[in-house]
């Protein structure tokens, strides 16, 4: 019986979510119910509260999935990931530009084959759900078919995904190039077909300034202007050689950010990975545009790109919104838990702290806010879509042993981001239905 025709269901467990940013609001931003209940109807959260209060009011026979003693938190959100790079992960020795050429562009050419793209999309979404990620902002390849395959698979699972075909009209092998015109046209067609179809959303996706000509970035600006509710995702200021090459390719622009500004690509729906080497002036303009800096710790360290300076990025004089992400395949883990564990280290190396609350907020409500989707996902409030992850803090011997000494919820959250991985994900719910169970 399809969910739409059924009565309510319920998920019981130790519920934890955020209603504000713990960096500014402190622990009051967190909601925690030791024995909580999520009541779900037609995929949406109808009620949330103590199980003792809500259970008596449920219709007789309402199915209740009891996950105690596990934590139940909103589904993780990954703000930057490349689905055609699941076989690029763990490619040795290169930094960004060589890594693209030696590994990534080789693998991405295979996605011209619709069968390969379909199989890749299946593996990719299986792996996201196994890791508790229910929403991601996804780069496909240049081939329109790669985006078709991803959206079709996501629609089948009813997951809320944001994706777009990459636009590249130079700086890559011929099999990976579109043109300013075809990139524009294919993107328009994909937006018409997929944007807001069910839970699917489109992200206009020029790869970055080196692989798009000014003509293509100009066409991209038209797409953004014509579809202001689509996201725009691209790369900026990841690697020092990349930055030099962009300066050489766009000698008339004063800096990297100016390239995107010139074509109208810097705005509140712009998801900009990786913002490692931006100047103070560029940061001011990011703030003014309300653009989002996307922090991908395992990728930044794996590719030797640099350390994301979150403290500087969120300088209260001109704060910039931050999203967090895995960046598979430059990143090394699909797990947002491991991603936040690495984020902690990246910040600590710079004398900064990432609290357990800040980490859990970032991968749930924080990313939802950054994506402009906090009215829809990222927290457990009535009316939100019910995507959730069930977390077992004792999933490995090392974690179970450590948890014997954990006294507070903050400690438990920190154990999860420091020692946790896909094994910590006992189950994943999409629209109130089990989409993965260990």
């Amino acid at each position: 019986m399809p969910a739409g025709e059924r009565g309510p269901t319920a998920i019981r467990g130790r519920l934890l979510w955020y209603v504000a940013d713990p960096d500014t609001e402190g622990p009051a931003a967190r909601r925690y119910l030791e024995d909580g209940l999520l009541v779900v109807e037609r995929g949406l959260i109808r009620a949330v509260g103590p199980a003792g209060d809500l259970l008596p009011a449920l219709p007789d026979g309402t199915p209740v999935s009891d996950h105690r003693p596990h934590l139940v938190v909103p589904g993780f959100i990954d703000a930057h990931i490349h689905y055609p790079q699941t076989q690029v992960v763990a490619s040795y020795g290169a930094m960004l530009l060589d890594w693209l050429e030696r590994y990534t562009f080789v693998e991405e050419q295979r996605f011209a084959d619709p069968g390969h793209a379909a199989a890749g999309a299946r593996f990719f979404l299986d792996e996201l759900l196994r890791n508790g990620t229910t929403t991601a902002s996804i780069y496909c390849t240049v081939h329109a078919g790669s985006a078709e395959a991803l959206f079709a698979e996501s629609e089948r699972r009813d997951t809320r995904m944001i994706a777009g075909k990459v636009m590249m009209d130079r700086g890559a092998p011929p099999g990976l190039l579109d043109t300013a015109e075809s990139g524009y046209r294919d993107t328009k067609a994909l937006i018409a077909r997929w944007h807001r179809r069910g839970r699917q959303l489109y992200a206009i996706s020029p790869r970055f300034a080196l692989t798009s000509s000014p003509a293509q970035l100009d066409a991209t600006g038209r797409l953004v202007a014509e579809h202001p509710d689509c996201h725009l995702q691209t790369h900026i200021s990841e690697n020092l050689r990349e930055i030099e090459a962009v300066a050489a390719a766009y000698p008339e622009e004063r800096d990297y950010t100016a390239v995107y500004e010139r074509f109208g690509l810097l705005g509140p729906r712009s998801l900009m990975g990786h913002c490692l080497h931006l100047s103070e002036d560029e940061l001011r303009r990011f703030h003014a545009a309300d653009a989002v800096a996307v922090f991908c710790p395992t990728s930044n360290t794996f590719l030797g790109s640099g350390l994301f300076d979150w403290g500087r990025i969120r300088d209260p004089r001109r704060p910039i919104r931050v999203a967090v992400a895995t960046d598979i395949g430059g990143g090394t883990s699909y797990s947002m838990l491991r991603t936040m564990g690495e984020a902690y280290k990246v910040l600590h190396l710079q004398g900064q702290s990432l609290t357990p609350d800040a980490a859990f907020h970032a991968m749930t409500r924080g990313n939802a806010v950054a994506l402009g989707l906090d009215g829809v996902i990222g927290s457990f409030e009535p009316g939100r879509e019910c995507d959730a992850v069930v977390l077992d803090s004792r999933a490995t011997p090392a974690a179970a042993h450590r948890m014997e000494r954990a006294r507070t919820i903050e400690e438990e959250l920190f154990v999860l981001t420091t020692l946790g991985d896909d094994r910590s994900v006992a189950a994943t719910y999409v629209m109130g239905e089990v989409a993965h169970r260990q």
Copy 2:
């Protein structure tokens, strides 16, 4: 039937080990047998070679454990780990000195109880073997009983472990202090009882200059002089505040290294964690003394201590020997695979490369050389003790998917250090016997 009374046994698989340092000798340093056999008798390797050559010569009925298609490599060696810190791992927010005070010293006091120490030793050795680590250089607590418990448990398993009771006579809670005299006496007694008893080895273990008075370091120097074949393990130059505090505590010494030199603690059996901020002059003296710098990547990043500059440490004008280690509980993983994955990132952030061969060499033969045990463990040569790890490169969906595209053994090794963890360890052998099987 005890192993000593039995005939030979054999381990079959894709055997891989090193006979030299791949950093200087290149791929010729690696031995690889696609279908290899290790013949074991009384725990020692009697023969190693292609299975096709060796199988016909085995006595009828010789038990052969066939691990194909898995890799079989020498047991991993962890050159710096604290067994009383398995419940300190993942403690939030502090750098070294605060971290010791807020978390570590609290947990270590519990090891005054022999029952707690015995249970801790069991968990610890289980976890090492689950991760493929068959030898480690281990810090116990200040309590002689903590070392007793560890050695007793290691002897029961016949693992080759190096361990020592920590010496601290100041800078810690009263329950964790010995005195110059009692530290000397207890260490002497432990050496007499455990050093070279079966496979056990003793490491003289003054924690570091801030927790030992000059009188205790002087007594430590006597221990080193009286027991030149014991290891000496301590900490140096991990954290900038620690370095300042040592300068204040030893104002008469020109630098941190000079404190240990003054008491005769810097020599070829000295295992010095973490060497992050040594001056060029100190590095020259490390080279002259042939001391070992111990690199603990997950600890250095987790505690925000800094990035180990391997390139500088091994400067060919005054190369210093390096060992690699987890440093649980400052470190975040028991897995030497994950440790080398993090080492790769730490080096890449500094524009350096850690090749897959260098990583696998480091955690096997490289660490054996650094510990002066390369005649005994760390490679598959006849006469060596047969400690081995069976590695499944496809242990998780992400790794299996990535391995579909791996073409070379180097790629496979890199996938193991980038995506692998305890799940990659299909089995662990100690002295030719299965000590862990997944």
